[in-house]
């Protein structure tokens, strides 16, 4: 998509409409002095696409900078607008900025979905580059560079998905650890061992063990599956036996929980110890954590310096003398240090959370034990109290942990003060419960049916639980493995994507930079991803300086070279991202370049970006002249933008374009603005004539000199002709023009006098007559002092066909 034409009115310095016809995909070079309004063109583009103008946003204006966008001289009922026509007309739109109930409102004329989609897609493209944005990316911190690129290529969504997988991997790992299936299975195996003196690892061993238990009873049941074991239990079942076995199993459960408690306690202790040790690391620099609170201040300061909102070479806080570059460097370094501290703090908090999870798991297990039938018996009230004491120890630890505050790190308890387990107490409790359980069996030790029933019932229960835990453990392990494989594959794809992208951008940026800086000592410029633990943490810009790898660029490169790097990065991004738009706006980007780099940048645009439509705005006169010559015959439009008190910014028409427009209007008898056009044409003509004949006028400063009125020039020209006794001095056309100029002036100001087409035709006829006196019809050049013949006392045009007396 290229721009076919644009018309801007009422935007910033552009009070009246300016138009540019860029049909045939013309690029355009516009020169304008500072304050002439050329940046208003870039502002209009920014507003059109982004609905805000970043450099105008401030607390005192508004968040989108819109209130500063509207030309201050517009009346309330006048609209500001930007009318853009494209190579594909379905996207043509005129965006208006107008007052609606005293509120500034923006509205595009094109409300089609196509246009909305186009605008949305254009937001991801690089369309405008301004001088002040050149160093933005280069001076970013590593993390900001990553953030910027991630946002542009939609990597933030990728990072989000990766975060989900990473967290799932961590959770599954922790879950396997807290579930501690191996420990539970070992306990069950030891319980089986206690019952039948052997371990059971598979169904075959299980069935054989049951067969051996049943054998002495000579039952007519063949043990071959679970159903047959159920049949045996049914045959042996007596109500009192069932009750006794259930009670025994209840004791088993409590004993098992307490045995697990040892392992859980160790997990809590080691996790807390790790948390405590990390706290001690941070405590070595007590102020470290406090510094994190400075981050918003430092970030804001960095942003203010980077946007050049503060340009003094002194620290705005302590007022010490320090260059802006030094301040930026120092803030960048401190922000990177803080990012590291924040990471450290997060690791400590993760340890704290892990400890909390272990504590919660242990409390759940004790609660479950406290609900067991065996502990609810009156005879076991003391034992229950002891289990509650254990729970109390864990709950107290939980409260202590919740109270820990990293800002008071010295108050954090040592591991031995945080939690301690009286092993003798625990062991005595387990032994007491085991005795209670044994008493149930002891009373029935001579009852063979009960003994067999009890063993089969218990072994079936334990083995069933082992099988169930093994299955759960396998499923969990498979899930963990699956999510880890998914995560690893994802990281691989993400890495490939980012590296391919950075390689491509780096290649283009390097090529462009070397094109502009051939035979200098910089090479192999690269954007390098930085990662820690599979996590991208930033991007750095590395390059070779005198053959040695260096980073960052501002360590060695001059401001001019850094700006050059900024332009190359922008252009490389244009190549990478701009899918839809084939035009780019440059607003005064070469200000810090020396002559050599300016020439090379001009060549770069003309040679390497010839398939793009370039809208180039500059206030550098020499560069403008240089580029004007370079783009001759290359489908470029070259214009100057000027500013006048009455009109605001306006595009200075070339004489031929002015002439074309005047004649077209005369042909159509269209008097709108015609007088003004003729006046402008006359002014241009008189300036050229006076310049060539070295007509002296009174001294005026700068732009006032450029804005001289025709009557002054005409009067001085006549004086000069008289002085040189030139035969043109008495031509009647001078007097007629003096009278007609009134029309031109009237037409260019608000006036109630309506000019007639015949008057304007006459005015234009006089202008052409005047031109005919000074411009040779044969060579088209004006008579000039360059061709003064001091012997003949004449001046002439370049071919000599037009010649007049020029005497002293």
């Amino acid at each position: 998509m290229k721009v076919k034409s644009l018309e801007i009115s009422g935007v910033r310095g552009i009070r009246k409409s300016i138009k540019l016809d860029l049909s045939s995909s013309k690029s355009v070079l516009i020169y304008g002095d500072n304050g002439s309004g050329k940046s208003s063109i870039a502002d209009a583009f920014e507003w059109f696409y982004y609905d805000k103008v970043k450099h105008l946003t401030s607390e005192e204006i508004d968040v989108r900078g819109i209130s500063a966008l509207r030309n201050t001289f517009l009346s309330d009922d006048q609209d500001a607008y930007f009318d853009l026509k494209y190579s594909d007309s379905k996207y043509d739109s005129k965006k208006r900025l107008f007052l609606k109930k005293s509120k500034l409102t923006s509205e595009p004329s094109n409300v089609s979905q196509d246009f909305k989609d186009y605008l949305g897609a254009s937001l991801k493209e690089n369309l405008i580059l301004r001088y002040k944005d050149l160093l933005r990316f280069i001076l970013f911190t590593k993390a900001e560079k990553l953030e910027e690129i991630s946002q542009i290529i939609g990597f933030s969504e990728v990072s989000k998905v990766k975060g989900v997988f990473k967290k799932a991997v961590g959770e599954l790992r922790t879950k396997r650890k807290t579930e501690n299936f191996d420990n539970h299975i070992n306990i069950k195996q030891s319980q089986i061992m206690e019952q039948i003196g052997q371990s059971i690892f598979d169904d075959n061993q299980y069935f054989n063990a049951i067969k051996e238990l049943v054998a002495p009873l000579n039952l007519s049941v063949e043990i071959k599956d679970d159903a047959s074991i159920s049949n045996v239990l049914e045959l042996l079942k007596k109500p009192e036996n069932k009750e006794a076995v259930e009670q025994q199993l209840s004791y088993e459960k409590v004993i098992e929980s307490l045995n697990n408690h040892k392992a859980s306690f160790e997990n809590i202790y080691s996790s807390y110890k790790s948390f405590y040790e990390k706290c001690q690391q941070i405590a070595k620099d007590k102020d470290k954590l406090k510094k994190i609170s400075l981050e918003p201040l430092l970030s804001q300061g960095f942003s203010i310096l980077e946007k050049r909102l503060y340009e003094e070479d002194r620290c705005p806080l302590c007022l010490q003398d320090k260059s802006r570059e030094e301040l930026i460097d120092e803030l960048r370094r401190r922000l990177e240090e803080l990012a590291f501290v924040k990471k450290e703090k997060n690791t400590v908090l993760e340890e704290k959370n892990a400890t909390q999870r272990f504590i919660q798991g242990t409390i759940t297990e004790i609660n479950s034990a406290l609900r067991e039938k065996s502990l609810l018996l009156d005879e076991n009230a003391d034992l229950r109290k002891q289990v509650e004491q254990l729970k109390g120890i864990i709950s107290t630890a939980s409260e202590k942990l919740q109270r820990t505050d990293l800002s008071e790190i010295e108050q954090i308890s040592k591991p031995e003060d945080f939690i301690s387990l009286n092993m003798t107490f625990l062991q005595d409790l387990i032994s007491a419960l085991a005795d209670k359980k044994s008493m149930i069996i002891t009373g029935k030790k001579d009852d063979q049916t009960f003994t067999v029933y009890n063993k089969i019932f218990s072994v079936r229960q334990f083995y069933g639980e082992i099988k169930s835990m093994k299955r759960a453990s396998e499923v969990l392990a498979r899930q963990q493995q699956s999510i880890e494989l998914i995560y690893n594959e994802f990281v691989k794809k993400q890495r490939e994507g980012l590296c391919t992208f950075l390689d491509s951008i780096s290649r283009d940026m390097n090529d462009l930079y070397l094109f502009m800086n051939a035979s200098e000592n910089v090479s192999e410029i690269e954007l390098i991803p930085l990662d820690e633990d599979d996590e991208f943490v930033g991007i750095t810009l590395r390059f070779k300086f005198h053959g040695k790898p260096e980073s960052p660029p501002h360590k060695y490169l001059s401001e001019s070279h850094l700006n050059c790097l900024g332009i190359c990065l922008f252009l490389a991004s244009v190549k990478a991202f701009n899918k839809l738009n084939k035009f780019i706006v440059f607003d005064d980007v070469i200000s810090s370049f020396d002559t050599n780099h300016r020439a090379r940048f001009a060549r770069l645009l003309v040679e390497k970006f010839s398939d793009y439509q370039i809208i180039l705005l500059t206030h550098e006169k020499d560069w403008f002249e240089f580029l004007s010559n370079m783009v001759k015959g290359k489908n470029w439009l070259v214009r100057k933008i000027k500013w006048s008190h009455d009109d605001g910014a306006y595009i200075e028409e070339s004489p031929s374009a002015l002439k074309e427009e005047i004649e077209s209007k005369i042909e159509k008898s269209d008097i709108t603005g015609l007088g003004n056009l003729i006046r402008k044409y006359l002014e241009r003509l008189l300036k050229d004539v006076c310049f060539n004949l070295e007509v002296k006028v009174r001294f005026l400063f700068n732009e006032y000199n450029e804005n001289r009125m025709s009557n002054e020039l005409l009067s001085e020209l006549k004086n000069k002709l008289k002085d040189r006794r030139c035969e043109l001095k008495d031509r009647a056309v001078f007097e007629r023009l003096n009278a007609s100029m009134f029309l031109g002036n009237r037409a260019s100001h608000d006036s109630t006098i309506a000019e007639a087409i015949d008057d304007l035709k006459m005015f234009y006829g006089d202008v052409l007559e005047l031109e005919g006196l000074f411009r040779c019809a044969q060579c088209n050049s004006l008579i000039s002092k360059k061709y003064h013949d001091s012997v003949e006392n004449t001046v002439r045009c370049s071919c000599g066909n037009l010649k007049y007396a020029w005497k002293r």
């Binding site: 991630s150 290529i153 939609g154 990597f155 933030s156 969504e157 990728v158 998905v161 975060g163 989900v164 967290k167 799932a168 959770e171 599954l172 299955r471 759960a472 499923v475 969990l476 498979r478 899930q479 493995q481 699956s482 999510i483 494989l485 998914i486 594959e489 994802f490 794809k493 993400q494 994507g497 391919t500 992208f501 491509s504 190549k575 990478a576 991202f577 899918k579």
Partner: protein, 58 residues
């Protein structure tokens, strides 16, 4: 963006179109992840819940 470069979304699309073919990944897990992504619900909580539900079923 030029053709050899891929946006974040393209990387995601490519990855999820291949998720069922990653060696060693449990089919139920891969299907669950894919469904969450297609429904725009791939969050920590949802993934954790769906994995827990798969474990309960097995």
């Amino acid at each position: 963006m030029s053709s050899e470069l891929r946006s974040g979304q393209e990387i995601l699309d490519d990855f999820f179109s291949q998720i069922m073919n990653i060696d060693g990944v449990d089919k139920d897990v891969a299907e669950a992840v894919l469904k969450l992504q297609k429904d725009g619900k791939l969050t920590n909580t949802n993934l954790s819940n769906v994995l827990s539900s798969i474990r309960d079923k097995k």
